[in-house]
């Protein structure tokens, strides 16, 4: 788990770290939405520039971001290969039975790869620069209009923050259990597929048992301190919208308009 960077928070005090989590959530969604409008070299160039500028504003080096891509490398390569071989249309460069490499297939593979990378990078940017609990607060606040239709926003937010809070705990625990089983002679990551699937059992069962026990303990502890569902509770950390948040939003909207404009002009 040591090398697992995806989805982690890196403490800092940059422009991006100080943004309101709601703003960051909105920016991320805008960006992801706009990625799907991009369809040409120029539109992607605009998105890459925006992403690089945003990464620069986090004060975290680009290398760390690229490291975050590493666990997903196989997924990326798999998608690209599928796209290259099974995409059809345009000039045929190479053919073997029903496998073929075509012009459109290559272009599509490239586009999909770009989309994947951009989306992963921008989500990484959100998690690198925002504490999980702040994200949960942000989501709760953004969803709060749904209260009007009796959607249990507070409960959802509580579930979300509990889940996020225990991701690192569970990862630590998984690592401890793996080490304990290693000490009993389990080889992780060697042998055939069947062998490897078998090694998952000695991790998952203790992990689940412990997680359930902990869940019971937590609910007892919460009740012991008087927690009741559905109350209108106040927050210890209140979210504040600053001028930087509005400014960032404007920048993202301008870039989005440019991308959509470029697409409309077919550039």
């Amino acid at each position: 788990m040591d090398k697992f960077m995806f989805g982690r928070y890196i403490p800092g005090d940059s422009w991006v770290h100080r943004l309101d989590p709601r703003a960051k959530l909105i920016l991320t969604f805008i960006y992801i939405g706009v990625v799907f409008f991009a369809n040409s070299v120029w539109t992607y160039a605009v998105l890459v520039v925006l992403l690089l500028a945003s990464i620069f504003a986090t004060g975290i080096s680009l290398r760390v971001f690229l490291r975050g891509l590493r666990p997903l490398l196989w997924l990326l390569m798999f998608t690209v290969v599928i796209q290259i071989f099974f995409g059809a249309g345009g000039h045929v460069y190479w053919q073997w039975g029903w496998l073929s490499v075509t012009h459109d297939g290559l272009i599509n593979a490239l586009l999909i790869l770009m989309r994947f990378v951009l989306i992963i990078m921008v989500s990484t940017l959100l998690t690198f620069s925002t504490q999980p609990l702040a994200i949960a607060d942000g989501i709760e606040s953004l969803l709060s209009p749904l209260r009007k239709v009796h959607f249990p926003v507070a409960t959802l937010a509580l579930m979300l923050s509990l889940a996020l809070r225990f991701v690192p705990t569970l990862m630590d625990e998984a690592e401890k259990i793996m080490n304990a089983q290693r000490a009993r002679g389990v080889d992780f990551g060697t042998g055939g597929l069947k062998q490897q699937v078998k090694t998952i059992v000695p991790i998952l069962i203790p992990l689940f048992v412990n997680a359930f026990n902990r869940a019971v303990d937590i609910s007892t502890a919460m009740e012991a301190r008087g927690y009741r569902d559905g109350e209108n509770r106040t927050k210890f950390r209140e979210l504040k919208w600053h001028r930087q948040d509005t400014l960032s939003l404007i920048i993202y909207v301008v870039f989005s308009v440019v991308v959509i404009g470029l697409r409309a002009l077919q550039l």
Partner: protein, 291 residues
């Protein structure tokens, strides 16, 4: 099997922005057949240290020599398995690793991973269960139905069934009642005396250190700050206080008596030693009072 650390440095998550150094320039020896205690505050690097003993962690710099194997930062993860059989490691709260349907199967899990046949492993598991004091009737039950103390013993049996030469235990008595603690410590002592196992024990119970250990390693903030016999380590009371380490009960009691005018040489570590030195002094005082 002797174990030696040479200039070992260890970083968690080396090469990432989260890199933290956990061990600094560790040089130490763990003699074969001895009972070595590792003491130090929480976060002093004890657990990190012992995970080097069976190469679950490899030094970021320096080397660890375990019997005839030398573990360096370049050592590959393959072929470490024979080492894991020789050095059994019981983690903190080992009951968290139980997973099989029955206690017996769980104890037999380790030996089977090392290529021992099912029947052999079954036999081994029964023997080990007896050794740790688990009743026959419990062996066919689910490990999750056992009491806390029984689960702990089953988990320790799971490591002992590997028949290791070196047994490393990370706070095996944490969270147990006094009786459970005595049982476990009695077992560990028995393993060293009767089975000639090399024992490495992490503990916060200074009485256990005084009663059982031949050799003490003191860790603080990732450094090994002292090593020696319990007598050497516990003789420097001022230094121990400074490092927020407790004294064994007998030693602490003797220290209070010293302030009342009693004298001890050497400073007693166990109740027996305390009594041996105290009785003549009390007798003398009794004579003085009444005479």
């Amino acid at each position: 099997m002797d174990i030696a650390f040479e200039k070992v440095n260890y970083w968690y998550q080396a090469g990432t922005p989260f890199a933290v150094q956990a061990l600094y320039d560790i040089n130490l020896n763990i003699p074969a057949g001895a009972f070595t205690a590792v003491i130090g505050q929480t976060g002093s690097g004890k657990s990190t240290l012992i995970q080097h003993l069976n190469a679950l962690l490899k030094p970021t710099e320096g080397q660890v020599i375990i019997g005839d194997r030398t573990i360096t930062p370049e050592t590959k993860n393959k072929h470490l398995k024979p080492l894991r059989k020789k050095v059994g490691l019981v983690f903190q709260f080992p009951e968290n690793q139980l997973f099989e349907e029955t206690v017996l199967k769980d104890i037999a899990f380790g030996p089977q991973n090392f290529g021992i046949s099912e029947e052999e492993a079954d036999k081994l598991a029964r023997q080990t269960a007896k050794m740790v004091g688990l009743d026959e009737s419990l062996l066919e039950r689910s490990p999750f139905d056992l009491s806390g103390g029984q689960m702990r013993r089953a988990a320790i049996a799971g490591v002992l069934a590997l028949e290791p030469d070196v047994l490393v235990l990370d706070e095996p008595t944490a969270g147990l009642d006094p009786r459970g603690r005595n049982d476990i410590m009695g077992l560990v002592r028995h393993l060293q005396a009767e089975k000639q196992l090399t024992i490495v024990l992490i503990t916060h119970q200074m009485d256990d250190v005084a009663n059982y250990a031949d050799h003490v390693i003191v860790m603080a903030h990732g450094h090994m700050v002292r090593q020696g016999t319990p007598r050497e380590v516990f003789s420097d009371v001022a230094w121990l206080n400074e490092n927020q380490l407790e004294l064994p009960t007998a030693t602490a009691y003797a220290n209070q008596l010293i302030q009342k005018g009693f004298t001890f040489d050497p400073l007693p570590l166990t109740a027996d030693e305390l009594a041996d030195q105290l009785v003549p002094q009390l007798a003398k005082q009794g004579v003085a009072d009444h005479g």
